[in-house]
Amino acid sequence: MRVSKPVVTLDQVVIRFAGDSGDGMQLTGDRFTSDTAMLGNDLRTLPNYPAEIRAPQGTVPGVSSFQLHFGDHHIQTPGDAPDVLVVMNPAALRANMADTPRGATIIVDKDEFTTRNLSKVGYATNPIEDGSLDSYKVHALPLTSMTVGALAHLKLTRKEAERSKNMFALGLLSWMYHRPTTLTENFLTAKFGKKPQILEANLTAYRAGWNYGETTEDFAVSYEVKPAPMEAGVYRNISGNVALSYGLIAAAEIAGVQIFLGAYPITPASDILHELSKLKKFGVITFQAEDEIAGVGAALGASYGGGLGITTTSGPGIALKSEAIGLGVMLELPLVIVDVQRGGPSTGLPTKTEQSDLLQAMYGRNGESPCVVLAPATPSDCFDMAIEACRIALEYRTPVFLLSDGYIANGSEPWRIPSVESLPEIKVNLATVPNGENGEFLPYLRDPETLARAFAVPGTKGLEHRIGGVEKADRTGTISYDPANHDFMVRTRAAKVGGVKVPDLVIDDPSDCAEVLLLGWGSTYGPIWSAVQVLRETGHNIAQAHLRHLNPFPKNLGDVLHSYKKVILPEMNLGQLARMLRGEYLVDVVAFDQVRGMPFTTEQIVNAALEVLNV
């Protein structure tokens, strides 16, 4: 289908779809995103939904939304505020108005603005009619009735017909922004192929929405957003959780080991379990354990057997697993612990994002219990960092934390698909013959380079040995209560983890003379990057660096920090990395914290930086 109305070219747009949890906003957003990715725009997304499966209809807590930011240039955040807000009911308007700047376009399903629905969320009068939206560009459309009308020829109840109104809205938006329709049509066909009536309803509503835009006077112009310049290659749109799952598969393939995922479902990590469950053809074993502890326990068991034990969870699960992770530290077995962080403490805000498990990952175990800690910066970086986590775990025989978070786990971006050949090597190097002077096997004899211990898996003839969680004697690994040995082993484990080779921190400073560094870790990369672009465009010199290795830190980190007048560190916690850096390097970083369950906006970071830059 081709658009015939006048076309305005935009460099970027932020669209937010908002409706009831049952209105299918996540699906609508996903589809629009896929279509947008195919057009070659760069993009980032932010799904946002309540912790209830389906909170009460028509209430503010029940609102689910999906925000998409796309443009003709490099995009690294889902956008601070929507240019276009699509709202399916009064609750969605109520919940999203505060974020929506004056002048924005608001598309409303006016059918839902009944007195009852309005009063449910505390509107005394109808905001569409009472003038309170005068400073916005409002399109109040009878979305529901138009959908029902379009489906009149199908034998559906009104309720059934109404369910397709999200497709009507999607059709309309697709028209407005010239999104291709074939992909979504194919998608619907695949999804509802076995239910022809529902398929027909969805396709009809989708096309009706498109046609409505094309035909009606209500929309005078349509918009186009040119593709973003991107490195040549084949791309796909990918979310953090999927990228992370693929990274694990890739690592196992490269290393030639079998993945064993021991996991207990938990938001927002469950999708990794779901994803890997689908990939049994890779020989992956997914074990939905009876609890968090069994998940990590079974993973350790599989690692002991020579597999790659992985456990995926979120903060409360890490808390429960911490004793078993400590066993992993003592046994010196490979173990990858994926923590898709969410709002805490306790159950906290299960569907919201946060970076507040860093210190738990570092210190949340009894005794001196060092683990490697990594954090991906973006959805697609989850792929690379998952491989890195597996590599370190396997090569150093150590538990490795991978700290993703709800924001990058569910958010997505275009990803240039790497060739398999370009992926890094992983050398597992299992023991096959005795390594002792007298023909015995010494399971705690170490590689002098990496300090990794000799690792023989059951089934290896002649290397039978026993390991355990009690302190081990150097070399032999037998139980030892010797004070000097304990001191030695505690320091050796620390040295092993401290000595893991990680790349130096890279500084981005085109001016080469910035005096202020914006430092980040994990998912704050997007907003920090975007803020840095804004600051530089407005004439400020500012350097950016992003930590993906939190333990050990890159070797050059101390020097880097000390070479700037000020280091600004935004975190979605109360300053956890700041505390680590201060403790390690005695450097007075300027912590800029927020704990709102939401990623930073670009504007927040720009303002925080300006406060420092303008001193």
């Binding site: 896929s34 195919m38 992909l183 593709p227 040549a232 084949v234 791309y235 796909r236 749109n237 990918i238 693929y246 598969i249 890739a250 393939e253 079998q258 064993f260 021991g262 990939l279 049994k280 053809k281 890779f282 020989g283 992956v284 074993i285 074990f287 354990a289 009876e290 609890d291 069994a294 326990g297 079974a298 993973a299 068991g301 599989a302 690692s303 002991y304 057997g305 597999g307 034990g309 004793e323 078993a324 066993l327 698909i417 790497p418 060739s419 398999v420 059951p458 089934g459 003839k461 002649g462 290397l463 039978e464 040995h465 026993r466 390991i467 355990g468 969680g469 009690v470 037998t478 139980i479």
Partner: protein, 334 residues
Amino acid sequence: MSEVTLTKKDFTSDQEVRWCPGCGDYSILSAMQSFLPELGLPREKIVFISGIGCSSRFPYYLETYGMHSIHGRAPAIATGLAVSRPDLSVWVITGDGDALSIGGNHLIHALRRNADLKILLFNNRIYGLTKGQYSPTSEQGKITKSSPYGSLDTPFSPISLALGAEASFVARTVDSDRKHLTETLRAAAEHKGSALIEIYQNCPIFNDGAFDQIKDSDTRDEVLLRLEHGQPITSASHGVISDERGLLEVKPLSEIDQSQIVIHDAHIQDPTYAFALSRISDSSLEHVPVGVFRDVERAPFSQLVHEQIDAVIAKEGKGQLAALLNGGDTWQVE
């Protein structure tokens, strides 16, 4: 079984055994070391995984692969190993505290899944390693360090609990009866899937004599009801009969007719019969069935896991990394 012929000595590690003099664990260890050659497996194919407790020291003394893990978690760790390495023979060593207190959840789930584990529960009815607190199998009213006025908890019957958790193989034996212990190990080893063996084990330091009735030669034969498949269930003086509701009762042989005595059948699918047997003994140990209560076939967990993977590969082909990465909607940027 296979050509490998090993002896007890081959399975004895060089570690000094560290239990108190007279501890029942010694006899169990010795029986196990003698039994292992029967498996017909090379040593490297055998793994012992334990939790924490006196009993959990067991793996150190066996010249096989082994892990002395953390308290209560051995069944979970062993499940991960057994599922990913179905070529191994995986044994779990645990105590009444380790298995039934902190590890209760992993035990019941391992049993319902029928994970390929032989679980040896050393039941001394006390926490040995932490120096004598009551355990989930201690009799109510027990005076211990943590219950100077008597414990209040109703004890578990490990056998009843296991049957309630869908266990496919459940047995009970006694540390001091080497022959019976060995037979029971053999039966467990032959069973596919998970096997739970409760072993009454004397702790001479903190709960001495707990099982004297079933060990002393002058009481033993009156107390023990030996379960043998196809045989009537009797002790020297008593027999087991069934009332009209199927509840089992122990009666003096003098009061009943031989024909009334229940013939043991370990292979009944419905676990109710085995459960009824498990209720014959309570913590007073007046009459104690020993032997295999239940032994029924059900596909072991790792078989199911690997059959599923094989079926998927047979249908979809082996996974190709490049194809995976390039799946979904893709587009080309020149």
